[in-house]
């Protein structure tokens, strides 16, 4: 099993979700996040007062998948989340020891 954490541009969330659903991903957790990478922040000006905003709004997805789905899920996020401009985000993939569905006590791949 793999845990995929993806940081994407907020306005790409719907497209990424649809793409993931299409490859068979059945659930995900989404949270609003802030951060910076190579894109860095931007400057805002209010009547001549400049403020540097270092952390930009992003969306963070957490998806737990069976091993055989992982590659296509990553591909789906990559394709749907891409604008080609700086700041598109990152995808992290890591191994996952166990998954448990709280309601039924199912374990392993049937729980993700």
């Amino acid at each position: 099993m793999k845990l995929i954490i993806a940081i994407i541009k907020p306005f790409k969330l719907e497209e990424v979700k649809d793409a993931l659903t299409a490859v068979g991903v059945e659930g995900m957790t989404v949270s609003e996040a802030k951060g910076f990478g190579r894109q860095k922040g931007h400057t805002e000006i209010y009547r001549g007062n400049e403020y540097t905003v270092d952390f930009l709004p992003k969306v963070r997805l957490e998806i737990a998948v069976a091993d055989d789905v992982a590659a296509s899920a990553v591909e789906a996020i990559k394709k749907a989340g891409k604008t080609g401009k700086i700041g598109d985000g990152k995808i992290f993939v890591m191994g996952m020891d166990e998954a448990i569905r709280i309601r039924t006590d199912e374990r392993g791949e049937s729980a993700v």
């Binding site: 805002e44 209010y46 009547r47 001549g48 007062n49 403020y51 540097t52 905003v53």
Partner: protein
Amino acid sequence: MSSSGFRFRQLILVLCAFGFAAAALRAAPNAPARPESAAPSATVEQRLAALEAYVANRDPAQAMRAAGGPESGVDSAPLAGLAGPAHNTWMMISAALVLFMTLPGLALFYGGLVRTKNVLSVMAWCLGITSLVTVLWWALGYSLVFGQNFHSAMLGGSEYFFLRGVTSAPNPAYSFWVSQNVFAMFQLMFAIITPAVIIGTAVERMKFSAVLAFTTLWLLVVYCPLAHMVWGATGFMNGVANPAAHIHAIDFAGGYVVEMASGWSALMLCIVLGKRLGFGRTPMAPHSLVLCMVGAGMLWVGWYGFNAGSAVAADGIAANAFTTTTLAASVAAGVWGLLEYLWRGKASVLGFCTGAVAGLVTITPACGFVETGAAIWIGILGAMVPFLFCTKVKAALGYDDALDVFGVHGVGGTVGILLTGIFATTSVNPNLSAHLAPLVGHSLWLEQVKGIALTIGLAVVGTALIALLIKATIGLRPTVEAEQEGLDLSDHGEEGYIYEPKA
């Protein structure tokens, strides 16, 4: 906090008791009954002349005398002592519009520009000032500005204390056809918004008790004398109505009284008060430009009551003021946005809003005196000069005028007063012919400059003394902890926004 807070609460109670006692003592009936008279009543010609005077907003007594007939007809005519319904309607609407500028216009405009933790404090200040100034105006303020029995060019009189004798009958010294109580309420709204504008300079770092103390003293020491000098029948610099004025200045809707007074006072207050904690190091970006824009739109709409209402009649001068106000505000909003675009490549919402307010400020003294072409120039300059002040000069000087009260109202008001002296014309406002005919179009601007010097002197010196007095007694600023926590919680025990996850 506890002992000084307790003393402050006691003081408030004593003041309230004093006010209500005074009101209770006021036993005199509002209007003496008109004595039945056997003298000849008004002729039809006299009555028609009075009606014509109503439509044209002229003096009915003078018109009736000109129409011939018995002198006794003048006082016993059916319309004697009555207000004109159209003029009264417009002035009640105008008064409500000017209050709308403060509640909630200014409260939203300013509230959106502060950080989340201080949004309610700004609103509480606007509400508190409204309540406080209303009572002060009833007890003292109206009389000190528009009374006459002190026979002084500097201050009005005592005859209208507690609005004694201020009834629905017009006071011909200020309007032939508007009820004096309506006039008093219209003027009250100006007295409310002026200190409410000032405190924009002090947001996020002045405690509530100090705001109220400042408002009380400032209204009595700076506003009342200045308003009397500019608008009082015996005023020192009332060039339009007072032939004995020492300075023959003109100010249609409050360039001196509201804009310059608030702007220059704000500059002084923010200097005495000091900068916000973390100023220049911590980001202090506006928390909601949405609220700010909503408030700016309300200010603009309310300003029609402020400017066109300052004709104190629903007449042609009001119509002119309505038109020039629209032109200057729109032009200034666009010019500010354009300057931003040229400077930085983007026109901002805050820029449009600030430009509109700056244009409205600048046209305020001029609106009932100038033609439309002049209004366009006033709009252009009313954006350009404050733009340079807010974005360039202020940064160079380093004072913390948090919401640019000086840059917009002080600078814009001063520019507007000067341009009024240059552009005013008798063809727009025949009242200028009465005492100012030789000056209009020539050296009127010089009189305006004298008025500028007097207004800046009074505002700066008065505010400095008041602010230093409060600083030395109850103090101006909250504790460091309270300022960091935010004034919403420390002064009012509330939060502006409470977000909870949905169940």
